[in-house]
Amino acid sequence: MKKLLTATAAIALSAGSAFAAGHAKEVKLGVLFGFTGPIESLAPAMGAGAEMAMAEVTESGKLLDAATVTPMRADTGCIDNGLATANAEKLIADGANGIIGGDCSGVTGAILQNVAIPNGMVMISPSATSPGLSTMEDNGLFFRTAPSDAREGQVMAEILKDRGINSIALTYTNNDYGKGLADAIQSSFEAVGGTVTIVTAHEDGKGDYSAEVAALASAGGDILVVAGYLDQGGLGIIQGSLDTGAFETFGLPGGMIGDSLPTNVGSDLDGSFGQIAGSDSEGAEIYAKMASEAGFDGTSAYSAESYDAAALFLLAMQAAGSMDPAEYGAKILDVANAPGEVINPGELGKALEILANGGDIDYQGATGVELIGPGESAGSYREIEVKDGKNETVKFR
């Protein structure tokens, strides 16, 4: 008993002193991504991207009073609202100064409504792209470094038209992201004179998609557009369509772009095409190089956006001279947009110094960040084509 008491006291003491030190010199950023669930293969590179920005700032020693930045990872499960909000609550209870996340649109909306707004916490999502989030009342607390799917629908329609495709079959993953994107693609494609033969949902996490493939094949179309996830139903649908000879070419929106898809499907995917948020900015290359030096793949989807999200938090904090969400939140648009000195990835130390001296910056980052309207990315896209089992960027839009 005595031993237990001493041990408890010792732990309490050390915890207390850690807290005291933490207050002055530690900025905690929640990294709230779907480390399990439908996009679990993307989340590691996203987390690594965000953490790389934090490490860079910590190393520079120029944030606030030479504060260190500590990432706190937590899981959203991508489609699990209960898990995501519980973990967001936990991050705030643990003293997070900002939350990078969520990742998938549905959970992001849930975290925003149930946790961020009541607690006045700022969120920057690198990958939630549902058009619904643009109009959601957010009290100026929500930003995203990824563009809305409404824009992606237009881009996809343009690409389809340019490639001379007149009719498509369309299937989407049955959630906020998939439905929003499918609606955007359908309306944009029909607006430029295309035909959508069938729109059908598929559930993720099932192994058998014979029924969906059968319905899609029966409806026909030049190509099949799969607005899903590359780790989940999207892969199953493509595999099923190829095996039965239903479709040979596929249109792949952002959620389907990733290295694992061509690897898993093989050479049959060659010739399929799609688009993903990304720009030809100088930053993208620099970032890819920094990432490969750090030992992860910087071209993995939404990894660069995650780096930018973390960087925006820290730059805004520096600009406001505070790590209180109520104070730095308003600065996010300032640091992201012109006027000011252009900042690329790897130059966060320089940016912090300019801000400390009262200067102005225009953070470009790894994705050419330009926030418009309610705080979301303006949206440039990479047009991707699968060639020889690899995703290759053919054009920027």
Partner: protein, 336 residues
């Protein structure tokens, strides 16, 4: 010619995938039904037992491939299967000794067993993810198709292609062999008979000198083999991902219950009923109708009874109807 095209389209998109999926569900449901019949509880860990067995098979497959051992045109996984089964047998018998035996000795109620199996499910779930990771694993090799859509078209000159994957062929053949072997075992061997006796009337079986622990062990061994085979076939046909196997639990239980829990024949019938209903009711008959009907009658719509969104609703509607009118399932199983 048009009639042939319609027939081929139907076979390609409905019959072939339906039969392969049905065989996989049937093998899974057989395992569930055996546990229910003999140990008298619904084993929620079955999906994850399948995942574990498949994982072991995959690991052995990779090992064989690295040594250059392959099965020619057949997937290497078939060679690895017996080893996978052996390890899985070890796991489930170990789980039984460590966990389920304790509750058996306590004479715990079935609902307690169900909850315990839920716990075992989560542990196995974690174990599989821990060892092989949560991602997709492709382990099929060898010839991919028996007949591919393109070859079929050029061979027959028809507009519609027919694809039969090797994995689908293997699935059906293996399912037939396994089911035949299982029925022979249950009906002809001494151990099989003692298992059936134990299932029918536990007290009477004990009185006539049947060793219950032996029966239980044999049941787990058979279930491990069935689960591993079902999981591996499913993984070969689709792909292996732990989360998908966890989700498979639902259609497997639906199959077992529709057929009659505790009745092996019912499990097989149930598997096909569930698989076919998922594919057939939601099929868009447009293409078939265009071939069969004269042009003037050709439909402009999709001729789809209901959207594929409802395919699970269909199988569960069947489940409810069966339970309402025949609570013991299509074949007489134990009352649920």
């Amino acid at each position: 010619m048009d009639f042939l095209n319609a027939l081929v389209a139907l076979t390609n998109f409905v019959l072939v995938p339906g039969i392969a999926y049905g065989s996989q569900l049937a093998l899974g449901a057989l395992g569930v039904t055996l546990i229910y019949g003999i140990l008298r509880f619904s084993n929620f860990a079955h999906g994850d037992t399948m995942a574990f067995g498949t994982m072991m098979t995959i690991l052995f497959t990779w090992w064989f491939q690295s040594m250059g051992i392959t099965a020619g045109p057949l997937p290497t996984a078939l060679l690895a299967l017996p080893f996978g089964i052996a390890v899985t047998m070890g796991l489930v018998v170990g789980t039984d000794r460590a966990v389920f035996r304790f509750y058996r000795q306590q004479k715990a109620k079935p609902v307690v067993f169900v909850m315990v199996s839920l716990g075992v499910m989560f542990i196995m779930n974690g174990l599989v993810r821990f060892i092989i990771g949560p991602g997709d694993q492709q382990f099929a090799d060898g010839e991919r198709f028996i007949v591919s859509a393109r070859t079929f078209k050029s061979l027959t000159g028809l507009d519609e292609g027919l694809a039969i994957k090797t994995s689908q062929g293997i699935t059906v053949v293996t399912a037939v062999i396994v089911v035949a072997a299982l029925f022979w075992f249950l009906n002809k061997t001494r151990t099989g008979k003692s298992m059936r006796a134990y299932s029918d009337n536990e007290d009477l079986a004990l009185l006539s000198g049947i060793n219950p622990e032996r029966v239980v062990t044999y049941t787990w061994l058979i279930v491990a083999a069935l689960a591993t085979i079902a999981g591996t076939l499913y993984g070969l046909d689709k792909s292996f991902k732990p989360f998908t196997y966890f989700q498979l639990l639902l259609p497997i239980f639906a199959a077992a219950i529709v057929g009659g829990l505790g009745n092996p024949l019912g499990a097989i019938a149930g598997g096909f009923v569930i698989a076919m209903s998922e594919v057939m009711v939601t099929y868009a008959w447009k293409k078939v109708a265009e071939y069969v009907l004269p042009d003037s009658l050709a439909p402009s719509g999709l001729v789809q009874l209901m959207s594929t969104d409802y395919k699970f609703a269909v199988s569960f509607a069947i489940l409810i109807v069966v339970l309402l009118f025949k609570p013991t399932g299509i074949f007489k199983g134990k009352a649920v």
